[in-house]
């Protein structure tokens, strides 16, 4: 997309000359760098519960965030009013961080190049509500039809269309149009008056609405949610203590996100507060493990044409054959560490300061047949699906919570067990990976990552993995 075609030029009549003026204002007190992040966000959400479409809402917000960097200091201000005097006022507030002579001469903006990973003609947010509401109705019907023991179903469809324009004092002007849609379904099952169990499924991406009609229809997610709820009806208490754990492919890749991903974000490492600080070149995983963060996979939820600092996203190798290769960098960290941005600077909105974040984080496929992996385990736990996870960056301890798992006894999945949290230590956990499946799968597009109060969409993925030692937090 070209600047001249963006909403900011076309509807708000903001010119490159205006932007150069705002940047000059931002650097009027000195400073090494300044940028402007303009955002126009259209959101909508439709939900069904008890087979009644109870809620439909939409909203629009817009604003500009202005950042000035001076050494390691950042000044930040934002405004939701795009009137020139309001933007200039915000620029002056951000400028206070620096104290020196103006650095603002000679900014001459030119448009930066980038890829187009989501050439969406009509964003879901621009389609008729009547078409979108059908998705939740179909999901509700399919979940209820799956099994007579399903007694509740809920579905939420949500989309947004984020239009951004970023101008930097490096002279780069970029614009992007970022569609995102997600359908999620939850189902409750009960049998013979026993306690209910919940199942959950969802997915989407930077796609057109047709994705939910052709590739992943509502029935797909609904059946998966219902299947999980039914499967858990017979769950026994989960085991407790250290054991062999096999993770199924796809969403269980949240392991990587928590165990290594956050710990490799450059802000923690430049500050020396991560358990991975100073470990580049060291072995932090078994040689079977190669971990990638890739923001360039077409249509994926975690993908972006450019990051939220206007830098093109990339495919970054974090761990190669077990050896730590590098960190996820944004502009500030790469400036201070004298390296290059990896296109990892992200933010929740114009009201937030960017920082290094993940995009789509996954492990490359290995050689093993997934069935052979399970057969090799005399006693252990097989985790097919997870809820969320969390990590303490400094100690490296991380958890993730299994929502569907099974006991492995004598190389066979025997019975389902109840929800349990798994805990490990980041720099240690992947050293115990002893088999990697040939079945790499990415999740279906449901991840939200939170860091310092900012949420951004992400993706994860793994092939089937065998981890010889991990602590399972059950009761049995």
């Amino acid at each position: 997309m070209l600047y001249s075609a963006s909403i900011f030029a076309a509807r708000f009549n903001i010119t490159a000359r205006d932007l150069e003026g705002y940047l000059a204002e931002a650097l009027s007190q000195g400073g090494d760098y300044a940028d402007l992040y303009f955002e126009h966000l259209l959101t909508s959400s439709i939900s069904i519960d008890e087979s009644i479409v109870k809620s439909a809402s939409q909203g629009v917000s817009m604003g500009v965030g202005i950042r000035v960097i001076s050494g390691e200091r950042t000044g930040y201000a934002y405004t939701d009013d795009l009137a020139p005097e309001k933007i200039r006022k915000a620029a002056r507030v951000a400028a206070h961080i620096a104290a020196g002579p103006s650095q603002a001469d000679q900014i001459d903006l030119h448009e930066g190049g980038r890829h187009n990973l989501y050439p969406v003609l009509t964003a879901p947010a621009e389609t008729a509500f009547a078409d979108r509401v059908e998705l939740v109705k179909r999901a509700d019907r399919a979940a209820r039809a799956y099994d007579s023991r399903i007694f509740q179903a809920q579905a939420v469809y949500a989309d947004n269309l984020r239009q951004v324009m970023i101008a930097t004092s490096d002279g780069v002007l970029t614009v992007d149009r970022q569609p995102l849609a997600r359908l999620s379904v939850s189902a409750l099952a009960r049998q013979n008056g026993g306690p209910p169990q919940r199942g959950y499924s969802g997915g989407g991406g930077r796609v057109e609405l047709g994705y939910f009609l052709d590739e992943k229809p509502p029935e797909h997610f609904a059946r998966e949610a219902a299947r999980e709820a039914i499967a858990m009806l017979d769950a026994a208490p989960a085991p407790a203590g250290e054991m062999t754990v096999v993770l199924g492919p796809g969403w269980p890749g949240i392991l990587l996100h928590e165990a290594v991903g956050h710990g490799l974000e450059a802000d923690f490492n430049r500050k020396g507060v991560s358990a991975f600080s100073g470990r580049v070149g060291q072995k932090v995983a078994s040689e079977l493990c190669t971990v990638i963060d890739d923001g360039t996979i077409p249509g994926r939820r975690g993908s972006l044409n450019m990051d939220d600092e206007g830098h093109p996203t990339g495919r970054n190798v974090l761990i190669e054959n077990g050896v730590l290769c590098g960190y996820l960098q944004d502009k500030l960290s790469s400036r201070l560490l004298r390296s290059q941005s990896t296109g990892s600077g992200r933010r929740e909105s114009y009201a937030h300061i960017p920082m290094p974040r993940m995009t789509n984080t996954f492990m490359l496929a290995g050689q093993s047949d997934p069935e052979e992996i399970v057969r090799s385990v005399p006693r252990g736990l097989y985790c097919a699906n997870f809820g969320g996870g969390q990590v303490d960056i400094t100690s490296g301890n991380f958890v993730f919570s299994a929502s569907e798992s099974y006991l492995i006894e004598d190389g066979r999945l025997t019975r389902p067990v109840r929800n349990a949290t798994l805990i490990g230590n980041g720099p240690e956990a992947l050293k115990y990976v002893s088999m990697v499946g040939n079945d790499l799968r990415l999740d279906e597009g449901i991840g939200i990552c939170g860091k310092e109060g900012q949420s951004v969409p992400v993706g994860v993925g793994i092939p089937t993995l065998k981890i010889d030692r991990m602590t399972v937090g059950g009761t049995a």
């Binding site: 959101t43 069904i48 479409v53 109870k54 809620s55 809402s57 939409q58 909203g59 629009v60 917000s61 604003g63 200091r73 930040y76 201000a77 934002y78 405004t79 939701d80 009013d81 915000a90 509500f129 009547a130 409750l188 009960r190 209910p196 169990q197 919940r198 989960a238 203590g241 949240i254 500050k271 507060v273 358990a275 929740e348 114009y350 009201a351 300061i353 809820g387 969320g388 996870g389 969390q390 990590v391 303490d392 960056i393 400094t394 100690s395 301890n397 958890v399 993730f400 929800n419 805990i423 490990g424 990552c449 939170g450 860091k451 109060g453 602590t471 399972v472 937090g473 059950g474 009761t475």
Partner: protein
């Protein structure tokens, strides 16, 4: 999918689905209640049979210090409006940060259009007119002192807090920083039954996050305090020294063997157990049968020494408000009285579903139907000091941090990552980390052996130290 760094902000009334940008609160403020009433009138004249409008505005400031230097300064203001309408028993809602005439036109039109695609819901509606109202007395939610603080003062407070942590012990070798944050806001609510209310809030907080190191062991912890007015804040010295003490006591942790032992929850983490109770008495979860406490009204659900109250009327606290987000007066509700489940937390919708009366717990962002929130949710204090509780444990686990989301409110299954101190013969023996604690909330509530005397209202969720008779600790 997150990691924790700074402690979460106290639950001040949420300004909306996401922060929306600036205009100083002083500008044009008197017009906002008129605008809310006008939006409601416009909705009704456009065909709505009922309408509710929320307008929120706020100014935020944050200063963060790291290693005695300024790291970030951020300053901005925001405001936005949300509208929910009913046409008969169909609902639609919209929000916008564009409060211009055209923006309001789009807001009203959008909500009306959205109502078209929803389904008739026999329980949809506004509260009964005789349920509306507000507390007239001064609830001390706003202190002008917050706006009067200078940037220099705020920076200095954060610097002193960090210095107190860094200087506390030679093993405090690094810092994730210290921060001073302020927020002042204004909430306005109007509906088509003639309710119009507004209140202002203020908030300031001071936090420190030091990193301790001893050999290979690196641990981080934090301390923070928040208040409605600056003179009520804990001193920077206290915040910094407490944070340092917490980080130091975590050094050189041991991963203990898997075992069943008594578990003592420090007040700070005991509040998270109370959060589980709050989720379990949430009216929406009750009518959907998504809670292990559904249908248990009048039954014994906890040990007789446990009384849990939700009180949104206590002056000056973060869970206090004159009215809820449907215009119903805030109140005190006894949730569990001496172990007997006495009340759920309800908004008018959940109340109609259950054939009950609202408890004044409606909570909403700018878009969508009202959800359910809590006021000051707390467990009444017992008589034993925390020290006395610890000294009464021969062999057990004192938990100071919990991570992960391993709580299933549907089944009550509880399994989370934990860190803390091991208790041997009534004294702290060593730090513990990388373990899980697990049980079922149903059993845990029946097995609360001791409730501490140390109830303190630091956030809107408060609990004294609790001792649970037995849980499974998952470790080696």
């Amino acid at each position: 999918m997150s990691h924790s760094r700074k402690p979460a902000r106290a639950a001040a009334p949420s300004p909306g689905p996401r922060p929306l940008a600036p205009v100083p609160a002083s500008e044009a403020s008197n017009l906002l209640p008129d605008l809310a009433s006008e939006i409601v009138r416009r909705a009704v004249s456009s065909g709505a049979t009922g309408a509710e409008c929320t307008i929120s505005e706020g100014d935020e400031f944050s200063a963060s210090i790291r290693l005695r230097e300024i790291e970030n300064l951020k300053e901005a203001g925001s405001r936005a409006a949300g509208l929910r309408i009913l046409i008969g028993q169909k609902t639609g809602s919209c929000y916008t940060s564009d409060l211009s005439r055209e923006g309001i036109d789009r807001l009203v039109r959008g909500a009306i259009e959205l109502a078209e695609i929803t389904t008739e819901d026999p329980h949809a509606g506004l509260p009964d007119p005789d349920e509306l109202g507000q507390i007239e007395s001064d609830l001390a939610l706003f202190s002008p002192g917050v706006d009067r603080l200078t940037t220099e003062f705020k920076i200095e407070q954060a610097k002193q807090a960090e210095a107190a942590a860094l200087d506390a012990d030679p093993r405090i070798v690094n810092s994730e920083g210290a921060g001073f944050d302020t927020h002042t806001g204004r909430q306005i609510f109007a509906n088509s039954l003639g309710f119009l209310g507004e209140y202002r809030t203020s908030y300031c907080s001071l936090s420190a996050v030091p990193v301790a190191r001893d050999g290979e062991s690196m641990e981080r912890d934090s301390w923070w305090h928040a208040a409605r007015s600056p003179e009520r804040l804990e001193s920077p010295q206290h915040v910094g020294a407490t944070a340092a003490r917490r980080a130091l006591r975590r050094l050189n942790p041991v991963k203990v063997p898997t075992q069943k032992v008594p578990v003592v929850f420090e007040s700070k983490v005991a509040a998270s157990l109370l959060d589980c109770i709050c989720d379990a008495v949430h009216g929406m979860a009750i009518y959907k049968h998504e809670s292990f406490l559904a249908g248990k009204l009048g039954e014994k659900v906890a040990i007789a020494n446990l009384t849990v109250v939700d009180d949104a009327t206590i002056p000056g606290l973060f869970g206090t408000s004159p009215f809820d987000d449907e215009g119903v007066p805030s109140r005190r509700t006894v949730v569990i009285e001496r172990g007997i489940l006495k009340s759920y937390l309800l908004n008018s919708y959940a109340a109609r579903k259950l054939g009950m009366k609202t408890t004044g717990n409606a909570s909403r962002g700018l878009a969508g139907n009202a959800g359910i929130g809590h006021g000051n949710f707390y467990a009444e204090r017992g008589v034993q000091t925390p020290e006395a509780i610890v000294s009464g444990v021969a062999n057990g686990f004192y938990v100071t941090e919990l991570i992960g989301m391993g709580v299933n409110i549907v089944t009550g299954d509880y399994s989370r990552g934990a860190a803390g101190l091991w208790i041997r013969n009534g004294e702290f023996a060593h730090a513990v980390s990388e373990v899980t604690i697990a049980g079922n909330l149903r059993d845990m509530l029946m097995n609360v052996e001791v409730i501490g005397s140390d109830l303190e209202f630091r956030t809107s969720m408060s609990c004294p130290t609790l001792k649970i008779g037995e849980m499974t600790v998952g470790g080696k």
